[in-house]
Symmetry: C2
Subunit: 107 residues, 2 copies
């Protein structure tokens, strides 16, 4: 289940437009028009990217009247960060062990 959500989260982050949207929403909630403002594409195209971000759980949106407001859902952002940082630290520990081994065997 989480593996499947990680697939979709990393795939969602693999697009510069969607990363720009996450970047904007990390600074606070925004309406779809506010999100679309700086993006060089049509509103329907922005809505499609928003759907990808919502499907993986990175973003939630809510409609009030005619205005849809989007916000970050932090859990999948944390899960993606955790996955990468754990591997990076694992790699560093392995490097440290190798260094220690080489130091020990230095004569």
């Amino acid at each position: 289940m989480l593996n499947y959500l990680l697939d979709r989260t990393f795939a969602a982050l693999a697009d510069p437009t969607r990363r720009a949207m996450v970047d904007r929403l990390a600074q606070g909630p925004a309406t779809v028009s506010e999100l679309a403002g700086p993006l060089p594409m049509s509103l329907p195209a922005v809505m499609l990217h928003l759907k990808v971000l919502e499907d993986c759980g990175l973003v939630k949106s809510q409609k009030a009247g005619r205005v849809r407001t989007c916000r970050i859902e932090p859990q999948m952002l944390s899960e993606a960060e955790k996955w990468v940082s754990e591997r990076r630290r694992m790699w560093e520990r392995n490097l440290d062990r190798l260094d220690a081994y080489l130091d020990q065997n230095e004569t």
Copy 2:
């Protein structure tokens, strides 16, 4: 340039087989056969996944005789981690500011 590499890095991480390969290599270098061992697919399929990991710069491999050894290249792992963790922290700071604002205006 970095944006383009981030696209490819996140896309590379969006596949569970490639994440399993990164996970294995985070524990230390491995030959292609060692990488392929636990994976339920043919060696050519593993080689294709390896190519994706090499193209984005997450992994490097080197051939010595008939044996190809793969290892993590840590920079793109760090870049991907940094991108996600910066947005997560940005989001948290924004939440803290909102909390502070609400506390201040509480009567």
